[in-house]
């Protein structure tokens, strides 16, 4: 029982901390809205304008919120010794991971909701035949992205190395998945590489339900890939979690995690 209570309290505490941090609120909630209007300006003359770009923007918002939010929070708490203090209680790494994940899910959901609301009300963006389908697809996306942020948060040693490593991951995820630029603008070999990125599958599924007017049943493959990816990555978190940066991460463990995820996406890329 104390594990469930502890996890709920950790989630609550993480959310309270975020809500009381002005910089966290600006970067999590306000910044994505700036992106919305920048996209609207950039793509206003393209065919179908923002309707075609909204899946990509939702993907960028979901990925950056889930990935950076979780990764930086874990690294900061480890650097500050907060994780170490929790370590001398009966709380487990799983509780900390879930607490962080819940905070991230709530904050990203709030950010996406605000973005969607403004897109609909101010820019008149069309969300396809059913808004709830868009929400379901986004849940699958965030499920796939949050554990990647957690892995990043465990792998990065400190806040000096964390931004460099996360940007190394963030830019391919955004530019080679069709999120920032239409995928057909990229050369063929890069499009193949893009099929090995989880963000590509969120863009695909969102385009299906928002732009092509398809149902959820037609998004089986991308949804399955994101679901499986999330499970695998969450599993690897218990393998990689570090209470303090002096704990060795182990090249074998990092290798296993990366190999597992790469294998999944390589198989999907080959099949499709």
């Amino acid at each position: 029982m104390s594990a469930i209570r502890g996890t709920l309290e950790l989630s609550r505490a993480y959310l309270l901390k975020t809500m009381r941090s002005r910089s966290a609120l600006i970067w999590t909630l306000l910044f994505p809205q700036v992106w919305l209007f920048m996209f609207a300006l950039i793509f206003r003359n393209m065919p179908d304008g923002m309707n075609a770009r909204m899946p990509g923007l939702f993907t960028i918002t979901a990925f950056s919120g889930a990935f950076f939010g979780v990764a930086y929070s874990l690294v900061t708490e480890r650097e500050q010794g907060i994780l170490r203090r929790i370590w001398v209680t009966p709380a487990t790494a799983t509780m900390v991971v879930i607490g962080n994940a819940v905070r991230s899910l709530v904050m990203v959901a709030a950010s996406l909701f605000m973005q969607g609301f403004l897109a609909r009300m101010v820019l008149g963006v069309n969300f396809g035949p059913a808004v709830w389908q868009v929400a379901v697809v986004l849940v699958f996306g965030v499920w796939a992205f949050v554990p990647l942020g957690l892995i990043m948060g465990s792998a990065a040693k400190d806040m000096r190395s964390a931004p460099a490593i996360s940007n190394l991951i963030f830019f391919p995820m955004v530019f080679m998945s069709g999120a920032a630029l239409p995928l057909d603008m990229l050369p063929g070999w890069l499009q193949g590489f893009g099929r090995m990125l989880p963000t590509t599958y969120l863009v695909q599924a969102l385009e299906g339900v928002m732009v092509r007017g398809e149902g959820l049943s037609q998004q089986g493959l991308p949804l399955a890939v994101m679901l499986t990816s999330g499970f695998i990555a969450f599993g690897f978190n218990s393998l990689l979690f570090r209470w303090e940066s002096t704990q060795p991460l182990g090249a074998k463990r990092v290798g296993t995690a990366l190999a597992g995820l790469t294998l999944l996406y390589a198989i999907v890329a080959l099949v499709t």
Partner: protein
């Protein structure tokens, strides 16, 4: 028995942080762990908390092996770590409520706030608390599940005298409630005031272990006797019983002696026989600090003579 170690060793690469520590800590009371920087104090308490795995030897804390049964052990111990940050975006109440949720049983947050004198600060964000208040909150986090054994790592480091005094009161209250408190400190007078037992670590080994009084008595240090006299005074009889004259300025004399009692007795006779009046006198006995400096300055010191039935153990380093 709260803690028992046998031949406990911990190495980091080629550095030996602990070198064969044998320690038995019974339940109840305050035990101070002293030693210079790098002596192995923090490593030792972190082994007790299950944060470090020993390289060799045995360790049992509250009947648990900290390396293998850390989660179960942590239900029974409360820890305050050296240089730990408190989640500063939460209030004092919220911090304690969070930590209470990790344990199977906990005491009401209000009770803990009262115990650490933070009742008026419950709704204050941790980041706005003073250094002393933060440290008391850190102690409160360790008390939230009312553990039998408390391990504090330099709880008073960097605090002003008033804040230190407040923490001392909290620690003494815990002792009165039957808890066992093991704490590390660099403040010798703090250990002398609070502890029933003091363990001195040097270069990863226990070099002394006993009550503060026993340790002081086993000191090699000499007492210093200061006297002021009125009239012609010949100190020769005092020198005959072992006093060494250190200073003479007019009517002011300073002597040192191992057996200060013999010198005081001789002084009485000298004053009577020479018809001299004693106008002032005071004596400085060796302190725990003197003993501590003897032990850590010369880690090779071996088997000091310990008088009578004293239980003090002064240990010879094995390496």
């Amino acid at each position: 028995m709260s803690i028992r170690t046998r031949s406990l060793t911990k190495t980091y690469g080629t550095t030996e942080a602990l070198r064969g520590v044998d320690l038995d800590i019974e339940s109840g009371g305050i035990i101070g762990l002293l030693g210079p920087n790098g002596a192995g104090k923090t490593t030792l308490v972190e082994v007790f908390e299950g944060l470090r795995t020993p390289t060799a030897g045995e360790v049992s804390v509250m009947g648990f092996d900290p390396s293998l049964e850390s989660v179960a052990l942590r239900q029974h111990i409360g820890a305050q770590l050296q240089a730990t940050h408190i989640p500063d975006g939460l209030t004092a109440f919220e911090v304690l409520r969070l930590f209470a949720s990790f344990y199977e049983r906990s005491v009401p947050v209000e009770d803990v706030l009262e115990r650490v004198n933070l009742n008026g600060k419950a709704r204050e964000l941790a980041r706005n608390l003073s250094g002393g208040q933060k440290q008391r909150l850190a102690i409160g986090m360790a008390l939230i599940h009312d553990p039998a054994l408390l391990i504090f790592d330099e709880p008073t480091a960097g605090l002003d005298p008033a804040a230190r005094r407040q923490l001392h009161e909290i620690i003494l209250n815990l002792k009165e409630r039957g808890r066992t408190i093991l704490f590390t400190t660099h403040y010798i007078e703090e250990a002398e005031r609070l502890c029933e037992r003091v363990v001195i670590l040097n270069r990863g080994q226990v070099v002394a272990d006993g009550t503060p009084l026993e340790l002081v008595r086993s000191s090699e240090g000499k007492s210093t006797i200061f006297i002021d006299v009125d009239g012609p005074f010949d100190p020769a009889p005092l020198l005959a019983v072992g006093a060494l004259e250190q200073e003479r300025r007019g009517a002011h004399y300073r002597f040192s002696a191992i057996d200060s009692t013999a010198v005081i007795v001789a002084l009485g006779e000298v004053l009577r026989s020479q018809g001299v009046t004693l106008t002032d006198m005071h004596m400085h006995r060796p302190t725990l600090e003197d003993f501590y400096l003897e032990m850590v300055d010369d880690p090779e010191v071996a088997d000091l003579a310990v008088g009578g039935e004293s239980e003090v153990a002064v240990r010879k380093p094995v390496a």
